[in-house]
């Protein structure tokens, strides 16, 4: 009897938790759209080719991962079939959540492999991509990174490709921008302890910044930290010219709101992760100067902008995944392009065989909404353009400048 009672209480506990969320049903449905791909029933009699989507739907990078997936889903809804060797194949997206952590990544990757995907897209976040790399390698499947910018993702293997620029390029662009625009002499760099993305960017930024006579102060905060006052106060006390924060979205929003209440006037420089609606919301109505480097700027491809906005507005789960509004994130544009590059590779291979697709992918060229895409020998995209935009603090981004390499 007692056991029954406690069981009942336990379930009541779970239900009450669920009810608290359920009361606000619409906004809590964020995860919904991500898992739906696998269950899309294929039209009978048609041949199906599966594309694996290896993206985080939970954890630190969930917000970015969902937006990237959104681009692929939109592209899939636009072009749901591909011609291979005279036959029409239906393209089916298979999603797998890597949970933003490197220890869950291999089994999430194995899940995709077990479902016989022909090619894998993803992930948002370099660490998970590297952790899953060997699983794809062993299975002989090509993987195409969409926005994983760490050099080590593609280094030393022939199955991982990517369509975005690299950290060293991004850091260079930002360091140059800091020195040109703000005449910056000292920079404060803040990243998460033990996060290779943050620390990698900061290291490259430091190399370039100090090589040009600048001074860098580096700090790192522990995972799950939410109190940034001391760090920001230090930046203020040191009178730095710019603050460089290449951090995950959740931390970026905290840093910006806390900087506002501390009255920080130095401009903030962010990497591609900060190009996100939640960060934009945090900066909305503040006097923070926020600049980010990114892959795409709204207005770059009007037809795509219109299409994706319609898609987002007509689909409530998509809108939730995009943070509740229709501002286009660069990662969404990148996800969109990635899908089409994958289709090009499948066409070039002329078969649904993963090995053939892998062999064909390296020589694929494609002009996407984010620019021309081609791969070099190492599997990296040949990219020499980064967009730098700033928050207008009224809930929108404005293009600041387009930076070229060198």
């Amino acid at each position: 009897m007692k056991k029954l009672l406690s069981l009942a209480l336990a379930s009541a506990m779970v239900l009450s938790l669920a009810a608290c969320g359920g009361g606000n049903g619409a906004s809590s449905n964020g995860g919904g759209s991500n898992a739906s791909g696998a269950s899309n029933p294929a039209p009978a009699g048609d041949k199906v080719i599966k594309i694996g989507v290896f993206e985080p739907a939970s954890g630190d990078s969930a917000s970015g991962g969902k937006k990237e997936t959104l681009g692929m889903q939109f592209a899939n809804s636009e072009t749901p079939t591909v011609e291979v060797g005279g036959e029409t194949y239906t393209v089916q997206l298979v999603l797998s959540d890597n949970g933003s952590t490197t220890d869950k990544a291999p089994s999430a990757a194995a899940d995709l492999v077990a479902q016989n995907v022909a090619i894998v897209l993803g992930s948002y976040g370099s660490g998970v991509s590297m952790a899953a790399s060997d699983t794809f390698k062993e299975a002989g499947i090509a993987a195409m990174g969409v926005t994983c910018t760490n050099p080590n993702v593609t280094a030393g293997n022939d199955h991982y490709f990517r369509i975005c620029f690299l950290d060293n390029f991004q850091a260079q662009v930002l360091a140059n921008f800091a020195m040109d625009k703000f005449r910056a002499k000292t920079a404060y760099c803040l990243g998460e302890t033990g996060n290779e993305y943050d620390q990698g960017l900061i290291a490259f930024f430091e190399q370039i910044f100090t090589a040009n006579g600048g001074k860098v102060i580096k700090d790192s905060f522990p995972t799950n930290n939410s109190d940034f006052n001391s760090y920001l106060n230090k930046a203020k006390a040191e009178n730095v010219d710019v603050i460089f924060t290449p951090v995950s979205i959740a931390y970026a929003t905290q840093i910006i709101t806390q900087a506002e209440s501390l009255g920080i006037t130095a401009p903030f420089l962010g990497s591609d992760t900060l190009d996100d609606n939640m960060v934009l919301d945090a900066a909305n109505g503040t006097s923070i100067q926020l600049y980010v480097s990114t892959f795409y700027q709204e207005g770059g491809a009007p037809a795509f902008d219109e299409g994706i906005k319609n898609y987002i507005n007509s689909n409530s789960t998509a809108k939730d995944a995009n943070g509740g509004n229709d501002t286009i994130a660069a990662v969404t544009a990148m996800g969109y392009d990635a899908y089409y590059v994958a289709l090009e590779a499948i066409k070039a291979a002329g078969s649904a065989d993963p090995a053939a697709i892998k062999a064909a992918l390296g020589s694929v060229t494609y002009t996407g909404v984010s620019g021309d895409i081609a791969f070099d020998d190492g599997g990296d995209a040949v990219r020499d353009t980064a967009y730098i935009k700033h928050s207008t603090n009224t809930g929108a981004w404005e293009l600041e400048t387009v930076q070229q390499a060198g």
């Binding site: 336990a10 269950s39 291999p106 899940d111 660490g127 790192s220």
Partner: protein, 400 residues
């Protein structure tokens, strides 16, 4: 008589282990023996089954090593992830081939440690063919043993101050040390050795043990066999330790420290022995974990990982080695494989099942854990071992 019975039991256990290991080799190589198309999906080398088996083998060693400390000696330590981290990094640092070091340590312009066992043996036995295999195997073995030794050495120095603490305080102090170790390995100033926040990779992993022919085609798969072999050997060693006089002393300490001391057991010495042995095997399992995830990165070895292993120990039964092993495989299979369908929306007969979406798997999983913790307090096995249960059954049958 008793002696004979023990001997018989030991032979039986040895036989069981050998049979299990052979079974694993067979299971793994079905896909090599059969023609490609007739292999069922689940037996393909990339199937979830083998991921689960590998992870299970790695975690079972970690769980048993924790059980040695928490279950058999009664020392409540939460430092397991820290020792695994030490093992993983020691293995990784000593095993990355010199040629790949510049690429792995690209932020630091190469590594401070320009040496790897594999290269060292490679210069003796050669790097190609059988010689290459021998040098890799030896390199991996020695690096793994050293991984255990480094973890044990750290355990010794940590143990000096903290083993005097009682129960919960010991737990918190060891948890604190695990966090400190993690922070040290993430410190950029040590980057040339630890690679800072970046992961160390490119070292030999489980798949390196697959034997290939000249054309690169796999002729004999040993990727799952290898972790099983190492775990079996290590767990057998722990069993031997537990059944020795030391093991009896550990159990005496667990039951009553004061009484044990009065019986002439040197508390400090035995506690330290148990702590260091546990750390040694945790270090070895850490090295294997690095091989499983194919990289070593400090941020993975969190307190959550320690809690996970602790949960496994409790689910298996505190003080039961076979329980820990069984629980590990069930736990890993449940969390990574069997429940995965809960994460995707499913439509059956036109009706969309409620609740199913990303994240639901973990909710169900944690409810299952709560039910086990609340209603099966002693875990799967209690403090019994698998042979005990079998014996009882045969005796019952004989009585009939």
């Amino acid at each position: 008589m008793v002696q004979q019975k023990n001997k018989k039991g030991a032979y039986m256990a040895l036989l069981a282990c050998v049979v299990m290991l052979c079974g694993i080799i067979l299971l793994e190589n079905i896909c090599v023996m059969l023609p490609q198309d007739s292999v069922p999906n689940v037996l393909k080398p990339t199937s979830q089954l083998f991921a689960v088996l590998k992870k299970g083998a790695v975690y079972s060693l970690a769980a048993v090593s924790m059980n040695l400390l928490n279950g058999f000696t009664g020392l409540f330590s939460l430092g397991q992830a820290g020792f695994m981290l030490l093992g993983a990094y020691t293995y990784a640092i000593l095993s990355v081939p010199v040629a790949d070091r510049a690429a792995v340590y690209y932020l630091y312009g190469g590594s401070a440690v320009n040496f790897s066992f594999q290269d060292m043996f490679g210069s003796i036995f050669g790097t190609e063919g059988v010689g290459g295999a021998v040098s890799m195997g030896l390199g991996v073995m020695i690096a793994m043993i050293l991984a255990g030794c480094v973890a044990a050495m750290f355990a010794y120095f940590i143990g000096l101050p903290v083993l005097r603490l009682k129960s919960d305080y010991l737990a918190i102090a060891t948890l604190g040390f695990a966090e400190i170790i993690k922070a040290v390995f993430q410190w950029q100033a040590l980057g040339p050795v630890t690679n800072g926040a970046n992961m160390i990779k490119s070292f030999p992993t489980f798949s390196s043990f697959n034997i290939t022919d000249a054309s690169g085609k796999v002729v004999l798969r040993l990727a799952t066999f290898f972790p099983f072999l190492i775990s079996t050997i290590c767990i057998a060693m722990i069993c031997l330790l537990i059944n020795s006089t030391y093991g009896r002393a550990f159990k005496a300490i667990r039951e009553d420290e004061t009484a044990a001391e009065a019986m002439g057991i040197n508390l400090a010495k035995h506690k330290m022995l148990s702590f260091c042995t546990s750390a040694f095997f945790a270090g070895v399992s850490g090295a294997m974990f690095a091989m499983f995830v194919t990289n070593a990165q400090a941020k993975v070895y969190t307190t959550t990982m320690t809690y996970e292993i602790l949960l496994i120990v409790v689910i298996g039964g505190i003080g039961s080695i076979s329980g820990s092993v069984l629980a590990t495989f069930l736990y890993v299979a449940c969390s990574e494989w069997w429940l995965r369908f809960l994460d995707s929306e499913t439509v059956i007969g036109g009706v969309k099942l409620p609740f199913l979406r990303a994240g639901f798997r973990m909710v169900v999983f944690s409810i299952i854990i709560m039910i086990i913790v609340l209603f099966f307090r002693k875990g799967i096995m209690g403090d019994k071992e698998l042979p005990d249960l079998l014996k009882r059954r045969t005796r019952k049958e004989a009585a009939k």
